[in-house]
Amino acid sequence: MAPVLDVRDLSIRFGGLRALDDVSLDVGEWEIVGLIGPNGAGKTTLFNCLTGIYRPDKGTVKYRAKDITRSATHRRVALGIGRTWQNLGVIRSLTVMENVMTAQHAHVRYGAFSGLLGSPASFLEERELRANAHEILDFLGLLPLAEEPVGGLPYGVQKLCDLAMALATDPDVLLLDEPSSGMGPQEAERLGETLRFLRDSLNLTILMIEHHVPLVVGVCDYVYVLNFGKLLAKGPPSEIQRHPEVVAAYLGEEADAAS
């Protein structure tokens, strides 16, 4: 069985900066894989390569043995790659419900113009989309806020709305960019439970960027560590925690001095 995501020798440079340098990783079915590293290590850049926002200079990205290195972002979404954003991908002017309906875009069957001209099929399907969104919001406990404009909601709720949107794209593999940012330690711990639960109930595979170490240790099956665009280490969380270079990178010291 091929891994869900198979990344080989990914490199990208911006001017003189090697943002990613021969990074290889794979994410197996139903795994929750953590991606950690100091700021500027290239974690979000890697996400952008996986979702097709950046085109890597070198290397391949395979999704279930299918090479998607050059395919457009929206096609990857249709294949089943969903993501959340560190700075939130919500549309602040729309309501929570409208945001989640927008996120179902890839699965709408009626044509854009038939919707514009008000075809009966579009009305029927809109009802279906609303029902789907209703279900997702109920699932995440956002239903009471469904008709609120997202811009006016607290950060934590917006974050949840972002997750709801990612789920609405009906992903197979979910890329989470710092899901615990803006949360207290206790909330972060609960988030771990939520993620496991999402994985189990929605049959997801998760790759997440995360800084909160207890969360990573508690929930991840496997961890990759990036530093200055290079893969510094990989392994199960318990080993990564003790890895001297990882400790050094996080403390900002020279690896040699630490070891």
């Binding site: 991908g89 927008t102 008000g118 579009s122 995440l140 939520t194 049959n203 392994g235």
Partner: protein
């Protein structure tokens, strides 16, 4: 998971060589593969999920317009009555008017269609268009050209299609260029159209212009107002459906952030072009109506000044608000006439002062309104109309006034 350990096995040492010391920790073979059983998302599942997360319950009612508000039968009846009165008022308005005002009303309605077309491109898609006179103008000339050879319906349709085509070309530019530079390019595009396309003698009659006769059915000013109103109604309908179907949501999402929109599965290229095409089609139709309103087309009618007024009226009306844009557009269409009427009124006609009023006051007033809008009501007339809209949609006229104090109290607690 066998593939993973195998791959890591033969890749691990190779990776280690390129890095100093032992950069890579090999995965132990005992790494337990997650054995997950699939479970459907049941109600039980949902409750469990909810219990794992703390959602601030007090945030729930904040800002909800219609929460805890139930319509009585009287409420429904009164709202229906007001809505019907507004519709009847607009529909019956042309009948008591004289021909001069009927003609002016037709222009106001045409401006409203143009305002809606600006709204699709600039309001929904967020692509500033300062070359709108090109779309409207090409529609006007195309309509006059085709009507002279075929009939009005063909001319009207051709006007919409050429407007859409021209907008599509500009849309292709907008795929690459954003913000201020796009504004400059659209500006240059409009000027170019003015000086080249509108000057083709065989097509537009050159500087002399071209006649644009009305069809027999809509010869009278009264009938023509209703034709324009019908086109406005169709445009409003399309705008309404746009925002409530996938196309509009995609367009709004790409205005918000193109990269995020793409990760929601939206083909950004396709839907940006769609916005231009829809806006261009509306502008072309409006151009056709404009040509036959005047019964004559000339390039002077489609100067940059006009395009600026059209953007102005859409902004003052409130981008994104249909009702606001219709009112704003009508205001800007009629304002010049009203000022001219007053300044040229026989009762207190002052030479010079009257002319100064018309030439200086009208543009100045437009600029003043824009400033007022940007500082006080960024949502334009649409924002000011919000209570009315909320009320008509079945909510309370005013939001409950005691809410802020209650929130404060909760914070203290």
């Amino acid at each position: 998971m066998a593939t993973r350990s195998a791959r890591v096995g033969d890749e691990g040492p190779a990776g280690g060589e390129t890095r100093r010391e032992t950069g890579v920790v090999p995965i132990p073979d005992s790494a337990d593969a997650p054995t997950v059983t699939r479970a459907p998302a049941t109600e039980e599942v949902a409750t469990r999920l909810r219990s794992t997360r703390s959602l601030p319950a007090k945030a729930a009612p904040a800002g909800a317009p219609a929460r805890g508000f139930r319509l009585s039968r009287v409420g429904i009846a009164s709202r229906a009555t007001v809505a019907a009165l507004i519709a009847a008022g607009v529909l019956l308005l042309p009948i008591p008017l004289d021909n001069v005002w009927r003609s002016r009303m037709a222009l106001a309605v045409i401006f409203a269609v143009i305002g809606l077309s600006v709204n699709v491109i600039t309001g929904h898609a967020g692509q500033i268009s300062l070359g709108h006179q090109a779309f409207v103008g090409i529609g006007a000339f195309m309509s006059a050209y085709v009507v002279a050879r075929f009939n009005f319906a063909a001319g009207f349709l051709a006007a919409g299609l050429t407007g859409a085509m021209l907008a599509l070309i500009l849309g292709l530019v907008a795929l690459r260029i954003r913000g201020l530079y796009l504004a400059l390019i659209t500006l240059a595009f409009g000027l170019m159209a003015e000086n080249t396309i509108f000057g083709i003698r065989g097509f537009t009659g050159g500087g002399a212009g071209a006649p644009a006769p009305r069809p027999a059915l809509f010869q009278s000013d009264l009938a023509y107002v209703y034709l324009c109103l019908a086109v406005l109604a169709a445009s409003l309908l399309v705008d309404w459906r746009l925002l409530r179907t996938k196309a509009g949501r995609a367009v709004v999402a790409l205005r918000n952030d193109e990269r995020v929109a793409a990760t929601l599965g939206i083909n950004v290229t396709q839907f940006k072009l769609l916005a231009f095409v829809v806006g261009g089609f509306m502008a072309g139709m409006a151009g056709s109506l404009f040509a036959h309103w005047n019964q004559f087309v000339q390039a002077e009618d489609f100067e940059l000044r006009r395009a600026l007024v059209w953007v102005l009226m859409a902004v003052v009306g409130g981008l994104g608000s249909r009702a606001g844009i219709v009112i704003g557009s009508a205001f800007f269409a009629l304002f010049d006439f009203v000022v001219a009427d007053i300044a040229g009124g026989s009762t207190w006609h002052l030479p010079l002062v009257g002319d100064v009023l018309v030439i200086i006051l009208a543009p100045l007033f437009g600029a003043f309104l824009l400033l007022l809008t940007l500082t006080l009501y960024p949502g334009g007339i649409g924002q000011q109309l919000l209570p009315v809209r909320r009320w008509l949609a079945g909510g309370p006229f005013l939001e409950r006034a005691h809410r802020p104090s209650r929130e404060k109290k909760e914070e203290r607690d």
